[in-house]
């Protein structure tokens, strides 16, 4: 819980096209393998036909979908009932949530359709209010909290698992203040056809669970209004992230349910950055990342430079 006392602004490495921080030349080659191609979990879980059927063609920048991995869906179905248990397997996600809010607020405060209104979530707000699409919302940890902010007018939580959404809907009923502001939709992003674009699309701990991340991100990008943001968090694919997220968190300490992560699907920060740098109309007015680390006993901490080693947040703005 102490993690939340850290304010996001302190440890951001902002985007510069000069590659002072990006000495990792491996990024471009891995970028291709990771973002464009399907990554199977392991031999046991691999079921190419299943997710290709849902996901559409990989690697097609305009037409395709990111897909949904049925193994992932069944994994999260199994976690559904304990999603809101404060001492349960999703505790780390709950503890991380204030940092997600801080990071999203920070991105929006750098510029956006509602920049003045959304800053710190205070003030009168714009006449319209912030619209948010939370893709892969799960039990609704982030969806609920962003919906409670005074300047948010509408939040759509999207998830391919009906079972998980059942938990999200049941939990949202516990707070009368959410009624009318928060809506859950059972759909993949590929099949979702909203009638408007959003100010903010969030993808928290999602891209590492998607078979075709590049196609998935491009589908999401279509739903962002000019000047709006995509904000995501994920995990870098490094020896240290394998140690912390697989070996320590899942296998040794059991603070994250086993099988939650497939290390091969992780995307490094330079890969993510390079991907968005190559998307026309994106990132020239704002692209930033922030590394963070869970320290047992202290909580989540924003640590400069740690985006190269483990969990990181990434925000990118669609050009106005």
């Amino acid at each position: 819980m102490l993690g939340r006392t850290l304010r996001v602004g302190a440890h951001l490495s902002h985007s510069y096209r000069s590659t002072a921080f990006r000495k990792l030349s491996r990024s471009s080659t891995i970028f291709n393998t990771i973002l464009q191609q399907p990554v199977s979990r392991d031999a046991r879980h691999s079921s190419t036909s299943a997710y290709q059927g849902i996901g559409g063609s990989p690697g097609n920048p305009n037409g395709g979908g990111g897909g949904v991995d049925p193994v992932e869906v069944s994994h999260f179905n199994a976690l559904a009932s304990s999603w809101w248990d404060a001492q349960g397997p999703s505790r780390l996600l709950h503890l991380m949530n204030p940092m997600r809010i801080d990071f999203a607020k920070h991105c929006l405060s750098m510029g956006g359709p509602l920049e003045a209104a959304t800053d710190a979530g205070e003030g009168e707000g714009s006449p319209r209010g912030l619209t948010v699409l939370d893709v892969g919302c799960g039990g609704g940890i982030f969806s609920e909290s962003v919906a409670r902010l005074p300047n948010t007018s509408k939040v759509i939580g999207l998830d391919p698992s009906e079972q998980v959404l059942g938990v999200a809907r049941a939990h949202a009923k516990k707070d009368p203040a959410l009624a009318g502001k928060l809506q859950y939709v059972n759909s993949s992003i590929d099949d979702y056809t909203p009638d408007h674009q959003f100010d903010l699309i969030t993808l928290f701990e999602v891209v590492e669970h998607v078979p075709y991340p590049a196609a998935f991100l491009q589908t999401c990008m279509r739903h962002v209004r000019p000047g709006g943001w995509i904000v995501l968090s994920t995990i870098a694919r490094t020896w240290s992230s394998w140690m912390t997220t697989k070996l320590i968190a899942e296998d040794l300490l059991h603070i994250v349910p086993r099988g939650t992560h497939d290390w091969h699907k992780y995307i490094n920060e330079p890969e993510m950055r390079s991907f968005f740098e190559n998307q026309p109309g994106w990132g020239s007015q704002g692209m930033l990342s922030m590394g963070c680390l869970y320290v047992p006993g202290l909580g989540w901490k924003a640590i400069k430079g740690s985006e190269d080693y483990g969990n990181y947040f990434f925000g990118v703005r669609r050009d106005l």
């Binding site: 001492q87 979530g121 516990k174 009368p176």
Partner: protein, 491 residues
């Protein structure tokens, strides 16, 4: 948290948030004889309108992040008498609180302190504490320690304020808030239970408070500022552990001899039956806090006023054996102490307090002493503050200060939860409050409790040892005294 709450044998409430047909039937069944109005939904319901509950309401209203919250405060007593309090210069109430500088700082920040009449506040920057058996003494006196007052340095140890005065100031502050809390006084909490599941909402983890006036309040967050026997704590199934000291604290307000030649000090003498303290008030007034056995308290209360005055003067001058003997006298204490004091050597003021001359009528009162600490301060949609969370021996005057510390920590956690879009009743919002306050309070409770035990011995190896310890502190070896004094001011 939630899991443990579910294990409790909790009755589900029988009202409906919005009366659907099904809910109406249930309600009629359970409350055949009475109307069952829907609860009014509040963000925060505070049970208890003592100084801690009022401080909580005032600081929620004063802090920008929380001032929009819909808050209700429930108090059994009549708050009008406190609001209309008219002090007179020749009378001070017997219930006095000692506010340490950090508490006053917080009261200033919330705009409460400006409503406190400074002419009725007595601050002091020195303490005289000594052992009733060995006379080993600690002088806490910033002026002596520093070789005189430094410019701009606040050397105040504490400010003595009447309870009613503080509550009066808090109510005045509440009256000037833009969004005022709903104050429900002269009203008792009759029942707390959990809400119901309906078509629209699921209130099964929302506490619903039923009041003696028939009102029902639904609480996103229910805060118990309801004292040592906290009904809120009982509802939440939180165990509070501790013990009775089998001691009562006797309080009274006195007139004293002219002490204008001396600095204002607090005096405390540790007798084996418990500490006896004289605390300064403005002008020639002082307040007594004497912790001793219930029998001895009964004796003190039964004495004629002049015998009682003689008894208290003797408590700071005569040996423990003498004092013990005097407790057997039903009358004639004045004469008895006169000759005993004539044959006893004791120091002069300001090492001991000046003589008291008169006890103000109707100010002799007493209450039992307890040490209690709740297992947790929070549950799902529940928080405990002040005595509801911890009851401390009053010898160090820290009870209310700890309660005010709780309040500010809790308000900070709530504000942080709001800015991060959390439900303010969720344990994730409340956890920082518990982790910030539990250990410091536990340490304070433990320290004061150990002092009580240590000074309970009339003889034996600990008696000389405690005196050596006190000597080491008093000579400021290892900078211990400075450390203790600055800790006392900060805590």
């Amino acid at each position: 948290m939630r899991r443990s709450l579910l294990h409790l044998p909790i009755k589900r409430s029988a009202w409906a948030v919005r009366t659907s047909n099904a809910a109406r039937i249930t309600a009629t069944r359970s409350f055949a004889s009475e109307a069952s109005p829907n609860p009014e939904i509040y963000d925060i319901v505070v049970v208890g309108g003592g100084p801690v509950g009022l401080t909580l309401a005032a600081s929620l209203g004063a802090a920008r992040a929380t001032s929009h919250l819909k808050v209700a405060l429930i108090e059994g007593m009549n708050l009008a008498s406190i609001r209309d309090w008219k002090p007179t210069p020749d009378y001070f109430a017997n219930r006095i609180v000692s506010l340490i500088p950090s508490t006053v700082k917080l009261l200033k920040e919330t705009g409460v302190w400006k409503h406190i009449k400074q002419e009725r506040v007595q601050s002091y920057d020195g303490m005289q504490v000594w052992d009733g058996m060995t006379d080993a003494r600690v002088e806490f006196d910033w002026n002596k320690l520093l070789g005189g007052r430094e410019e701009g340095m606040d050397t105040t140890i504490a400010h003595m304020v009447e309870n009613i005065h503080l509550s009066h100031g808090l109510l005045k502050r509440l009256d000037e808030l833009a969004v005022k809390p709903t104050m429900i006084d002269k009203t008792k909490v009759e029942k707390i239970e959990y809400g119901q599941l309906t078509e629209e909402v699921d209130m099964r983890d929302w506490p619903i408070v039923s009041l003696s006036n028939g009102q029902k309040l639904g609480a996103r967050l229910l805060i118990g500022a309801d004292g040592g026997n906290s009904p809120v704590r009982t509802f939440a199934g939180i165990e509070s552990r501790g013990w009775d000291y089998e001691r009562h604290s006797m309080v009274a307000t006195f007139k004293i001899e002219d002490d204008s030649a001396f600095p204002k000090f607090a005096y405390q003498r540790f007798l084996p039956s418990g500490p006896v303290a004289i605390l300064p008030l403005p002008g020639n007034f002082a307040n007594l806090a004497w912790s001793t056995t219930p029998e001895k308290v009964a004796h003190l209360k039964s004495l004629a006023p002049e015998d009682f005055v003689a008894m208290v003067n003797a408590a700071f001058r005569l040996s423990y054996t003498d004092i013990d003997y005097l407790h057997n006298l039903k009358s004639g204490v004045v004469e008895e102490t006169k000759w005993r004091e004539s044959v006893t050597k004791y120091p002069d003021p300001p090492t001991i307090p000046v003589r008291i001359t008169e006890v103000l009528e109707g100010t002799r009162a007493s209450f039992p002493l307890k040490m209690k600490h709740a297992d947790r301060y929070i549950g799902e949609r529940i928080a405990l503050v002040g005595d509801a969370a911890h009851t401390i021996h009053p010898m160090a005057g820290q009870g209310l200060n700890a309660g005010v510390g709780d309040v500010y920590s809790l308000v900070k956690s709530i504000a942080d939860g709001i800015s991060h879009g959390q439900d303010i009743g969720s344990s994730f919002t409340l956890e920082p409050y518990q982790s910030e306050r539990y250990l410091p309070n536990n340490a304070l409770l433990g320290f004061v409790d150990k002092l009580h035990t240590l000074y309970g011995f009339e003889s034996g190896p600990l008696v000389p040892l405690r005196s050596i310890g006190v000597e080491i502190i008093n000579r400021d070896w290892f900078g211990l005294k400075k450390f203790l004094m600055s800790q006392a001011a900060k805590s």
